[in-house]
């Protein structure tokens, strides 16, 4: 007789783990089934080369909800987020743009490039604060079904409408602009300095198959401001031990609440009986049974792979088929014999040396101009990885020295664009060509890089899909586009973690609010299951 559980969570990514932890915390008997040999999904740290540890995929902690940190007591389970102090963007003319944690220093730096922008930056920051404040309740709101006449949905729509009204005209209009404009156009209304706009807009394109001039990218600009609202800890940070450290702390918390986590346990299908989910079958044939089955996988895997689509209503299956992934990002992880010397920061003056030291502890953004980033996207649009890609780079060993042997370093390079549908497919040759494009581009800004490389790991969207299971390598389990958000995520009328199959729930980033290591989906799903499951 197989043990009987109250709930089975498919997938040990951060949302699955958070979901399991909350269910276990409420006293449920929970089993988490993870296909790989380690938990974390796309938030894992692995020693890929001896002595060098990489956050293989996801590399920064941005929006992990503070209530999750508190309620699951994550710091006691090892979560330690270290601040990233700066962002430096090397410019094509040999200069640079730096953003610092210190407001005065950031203003001084920006003023050097544009006095108007330095003034605008504060006003812009205030607007974004207001916008983040306006959006925050939506993140923790259960999306109503806009077409339903049920009292619960009408109340939900009313609540949603009331919230929108309460913003006042000015903020409501600003929010509308933010939701519909391109980040380039939105930033054009505020700033004149191209490198600033490029660097800001780059945060709006991460994980999307859109360029900075594509409408719908502006609202992601909010992300940087969202975390700051919560104040409790620095929003943008690096987890000690890499992002795997986050996953492990959640797993540890879940176990402490009594959840059971099994690795190397790939789920083949969800077992249904009379239109109701009753258990899961592993690839090796083992079966586990529970009244609540929760999938932390993306919508395509949850519904079209683990289930026979014939069991689903036709319009729902259609909506899931139409749901877009379009992975667009890759990752290059380097083991280095020495630190990269960025030409724009070279110089012998003591102030220069201080600047360089500080910069190494922060991020580097390869986004010298809007055109640069847009051209990178143009390549991808027609099925080609960017020849001159946008990159977001950190040197984790400068923040957590344990990531590399003494004196050596690891470098994490997030790269866009690498389209999932690369022309000619993601062959080994194409993967290496992609890696070369990244290294060559970066060498233009840091000439010693090539000779410093000890090992190189190149990850394409196809690799992301193969290793983590994320469909089409989309790091957010589906594009964060307006028509795939809130009550559309993942499908209209099924945005509240329930599914057309009774007893089958969803909790991945493919559900509202989704995106990044935020964890809100996993938590909200757990609260819904506890209330209605």
């Amino acid at each position: 007789m197989t043990p009987r559980y109250d709930a089975i969570v498919i997938g040990g990514g951060h949302n699955g783990l958070i979901n399991a932890a909350y269910l276990a915390r409420a006293g449920r008997k929970v089993l988490v089934l993870e296909r790989r040999e380690l938990v974390g999904g796309a938030a894992v740290s692995e020693q890929v080369f001896p002595g060098f540890t990489f956050s293989v995929f996801s590399y920064v902690v941005s929006l992990l909800r503070p209530e999750i940190i508190r309620e699951l007591n994550l710091p006691a389970h090892g979560l330690h987020v270290l601040p990233l102090e700066s962002t430096v963007t090397p410019m094509l003319n040999g200069d640079y743009l730096a953003g610092w944690a210190d407001h005065d220093l950031s203003r001084q730096e920006l003023y050097r490039h544009s006095p108007q922008d330095a003034d605008a930056y504060d006003e812009y920051g205030r607007l974004m604060h207001h916008m983040a404040y306006a959006v925050r309740p939506i993140l923790s709101m259960l999306p109503p079904d806009p077409t339903s006449l049920s009292p619960r949905d009408l109340m939900g729509m009313l609540k949603f409408g009331k919230h929108m009204r309460s913003l006042g005209d000015e903020k409501f209009h600003a929010l509308h602009k933010l939701m519909t404009m391109s980040s380039a156009d939105f930033l054009d209304e505020w700033f004149e300095f191209d490198t600033l706009k490029a660097t800001k807009s780059a945060s709006g394109i991460i994980g999307t198959f859109l360029g900075p001039r594509s409408p719908g990218t502006a609202y992601v600009l909010l992300h940087h401001y969202m975390g700051e609202l919560d104040g409790v800890f620095r929003a943008w940070g690096f987890a000690k031990g890499g992002t795997g450290g986050v996953s492990e702390s959640i797993a540890s918390s879940a176990r402490a609440f009594g959840a059971e986590i099994r690795c190397n346990a790939p789920v083949a299908r969800v077992i249904t009986k009379g239109g109701r989910a009753v258990g899961v079958a592993l690839e090796n044939g083992d079966e586990f049974h529970a009244n609540v089955i929760v999938s932390g996988l993306d919508p395509r895997r949850s519904f079209l792979q683990l289930l026979d689509p014939k069991e689903l209503p036709a319009d729902f299956a259609d909506a899931i088929r139409r749901y877009k992934f379009r992975g667009s990002s890759g990752k290059v992880n380097l083991a280095l014999s020495e630190l990269p010397r960025f030409t724009c920061l070279e110089g012998n003056a003591p102030a220069r040396a201080m600047l360089r030291q500080a910069a190494w502890r922060g991020a580097f953004s390869i986004s010298p101009s809007l055109d640069y980033v847009e051209r990178a996207f143009d390549d991808a649009k027609y099925g080609q990885f960017s020849r001159q890609p946008y990159m977001d780079i950190i040197i984790p060993s400068m923040i957590d020295p344990g990531m590399a042997p003494p004196g050596k370093h690891v470098m994490s390079i997030f790269v866009q664009y690498a389209p999932y549908n690369q022309q000619g497919g993601w062959t080994d040759a194409n993967r290496e060509a992609f890696g070369d494009a990244v290294v060559n581009t970066l060498s233009q800004f840091a000439p010693n890089l090539k000779s410093a490389i000890l090992h190189r790991q190149v990850i394409t969207p196809a690799d992301i899909e193969r290793i983590t299971g994320l469909t089409e390598g989309n790091i957010f389990q589906g594009e964060l586009a307006l028509h795939q958000l809130f009550f559309f995520r993942p499908a209209p009328a099924w945005a509240r973690y329930t599914t057309p199959i009774r007893g089958y729930w969803q909790c991945g980033s493919g559900t509202h609010p989704g995106g990044g290591i935020m964890g809100a989906s996993g938590r909200l799903a757990a609260l819904e299951i506890l209330e209605h499951g």
Partner: protein, 528 residues
């Protein structure tokens, strides 16, 4: 207060600036309601961008656009337009060709389904359902467009009525289309079409509707909305409204002017407004370039919001937030017009065809838009050619023809070069070559050509940055955001000053809707 105004009673209840289609619709509506109205037009004739252009003696083209767009039946009825204009429905087939063998004909009721079946049986079978969806959503937009957008605060009785009407209309869509409206509007037309169809030619032709008068390519989010906006006028998938004004676009404006005059409005051409005068935050009239001052309690401007508020008004008297918003309206005109006089009927490739479409696939459009992003005219432009003389031979001498090409993308701001004579001719050559590739033999028929670049369109018709709609039509500049939130109900922060041009809700591509809506707002506000 200015003493000159104090002593003289306002001569007119309202002055309407400009004599474009929207201005004339506003004037006619106001005059019909018994107001004394004066229309002031800078040019020698009425019509604005909806005017005719003579390529050479006897050859008449429609200068800036050749489709009248959506004419609401209420407008025709209210203004008694049938007495002044002859509007006939007309099939006017347009042929889309891919430059090789494939072609597809679109009539006023959509693509030729037999032809489509030959290209893709799957697409042909899905067409009716797609057409149904489009019709439902476009119908919803028509309701939305026929009145001022309800204020989010719903504090006016009219707003509440409109909101209720909209809510009912929305519910009436049924569950599936309700979802579809919300889902589709923010999408890119390319993604949406990819959901439905497979044949590049069909998708290219449809996507062209989503990028018309836009600087964006079909992969830009929000172009599905632009597509649906243009379908407000047409039957699903048709490339034109299916309505033709006898005598061309210019005749429509002339007819509207007659309707306005018949209702008592006075129309003065050759009268350029230099300034809108105001005292204590309220308008009191206008001053002409000649120096003449005319008093009126209301001024309704059909000029672009930028020209109206930043040039005709004194921006130093407006709140900086408002000036900021107006000065940041995106225009980004990206189209040009090339008119040809021809010695014979061009080889359009279809029976009774009156137009041709060069938009062979969505990537073609996207690449054309890519050029514009970097401030270049498209290497391979999207062209929609229209031959008005097929349906109306009187527009050219016996046996001769006129071909007008709508060309995208020709960005107003060029990074290199200028829209001078050389730039103009280079564009003309490029369009000629493009058309020759898709309509072989055309070149030999050409007698003369007339190129209107975005800069020409701005100078000639006051189209700001050459944008036909007085402001890019995108979700962030539509409905309650159009032209800016502070005057999305046609009222402006200056008491007594209203906007009525295509820069206001619902935007261009609709014949006089903004004008009529604005006039209704003026009337609702009562006596000054």
């Amino acid at each position: 207060m200015n003493p000159a105004v104090q002593v003289r009673r306002a001569a007119y209840d309202a002055i309407v600036i400009g004599a474009g289609v929207n201005s004339l619709a506003a004037a006619a509506t106001l005059a019909k309601a018994g107001r004394t109205v004066l229309v002031l037009e800078r040019r020698a004739a009425v019509g604005g961008a909806g005017s005719a252009l003579e390529i050479e003696p006897g050859f008449h083209a429609d200068a800036a656009y050749d489709d009248i767009g959506w004419i609401p039946s209420s407008l025709v009825r209210d203004l008694d337009l049938t007495r002044h204009v002859r509007i006939v429905s007309s099939a006017m087939p347009v042929v889309a060709a891919d430059g090789n063998d494939a072609s597809l004909t679109f009539t006023a009721s959509g693509p030729d389904l037999d032809g489509l079946r030959r290209l893709s049986p799957r697409d042909a079978s899905r067409w009716p359902e797609f057409a149904g969806r489009v019709a439902a959503i476009a119908g919803f937009l028509r309701t939305l467009y026929a009145a001022p957008v309800p204020d989010t605060a719903l504090d006016q009785a009219g707003d509440l009525r409109t909101a209720l009407r909209l809510a009912l209309k929305y519910r009436g869509l049924g569950r599936r289309d309700m979802v579809e409206v919300l889902r589709v509007l923010p999408m890119s037309v390319a993604e949406w079409l990819d959901d439905w169809f497979e044949h590049p030619l069909l998708k290219g032709a449809l996507a062209a509707r989503g990028v018309t008068h836009s600087a964006f390519g079909p992969r830009a989010a929000g172009t599905a909305f632009v597509f649906l906006h243009h379908q407000v006028a047409a039957r699903p998938g048709a490339m034109r409204s299916g309505l033709r004004v006898e005598g061309g676009i210019g005749a429509f404006a002339a007819g509207l002017a007659r309707a306005a005059q018949a209702a008592g409005a006075e129309v003065r051409t050759g009268a350029e407004v230099r300034r809108i005068t105001a005292a204590r935050g309220a308008v009191d009239g206008v001053e002409l370039a000649s120096g003449e001052r005319i008093a009126a309690a209301r001024v309704v401007s059909g000029a672009s919001p930028r020209h109206t508020f930043l040039e005709l008004c004194d921006p130093a008297r407006l709140e900086p937030g408002f000036v900021h918003a107006v000065s940041r309206i995106r225009y980004r005109g990206a189209f040009a017009r090339v008119h040809f006089s021809l010695d014979g009927l061009p080889p359009l490739g279809g029976d009774r065809a009156s137009g041709a479409l060069v938009a062979p696939d969505m990537d073609y459009l996207e690449r054309a838009a890519d050029d514009a992003k970097y401030g270049r005219a498209s290497e391979r432009p999207f062209v929609r050619a229209f031959v008005p003389t097929v349906a109306d031979p009187s527009r050219a001498p016996e046996g001769k023809h006129v071909l007008s090409a709508h060309v995208q993308y020709a960005p107003y701001r060029l990074r290199e070069g200028r829209w001078d004579d050389a730039g103009r001719e280079a564009l003309g050559d490029r369009v000629m070559d493009t058309l020759e590739r898709y309509l072989p033999g055309l070149k030999a028929l050409v007698r003369r050509r007339e190129v209107l670049t975005p800069v020409d369109l701005e100078r000639e018709f006051g189209l700001p940055e050459g944008h036909a709609y007085h402001g890019e039509l995108a979700l962030d500049q539509a409905m309650f955001m159009r032209p800016v939130p502070a005057c999305s109900h046609y009222r402006s922060p200056v008491r007594g000053l209203y906007v009525c041009g295509p820069g206001a809700h619902p935007g261009g591509g609709t014949a006089g809707v903004a004008g009529a809506n604005a006039a209704r707002t003026v009337l609702a506000d009562g006596a000054p």
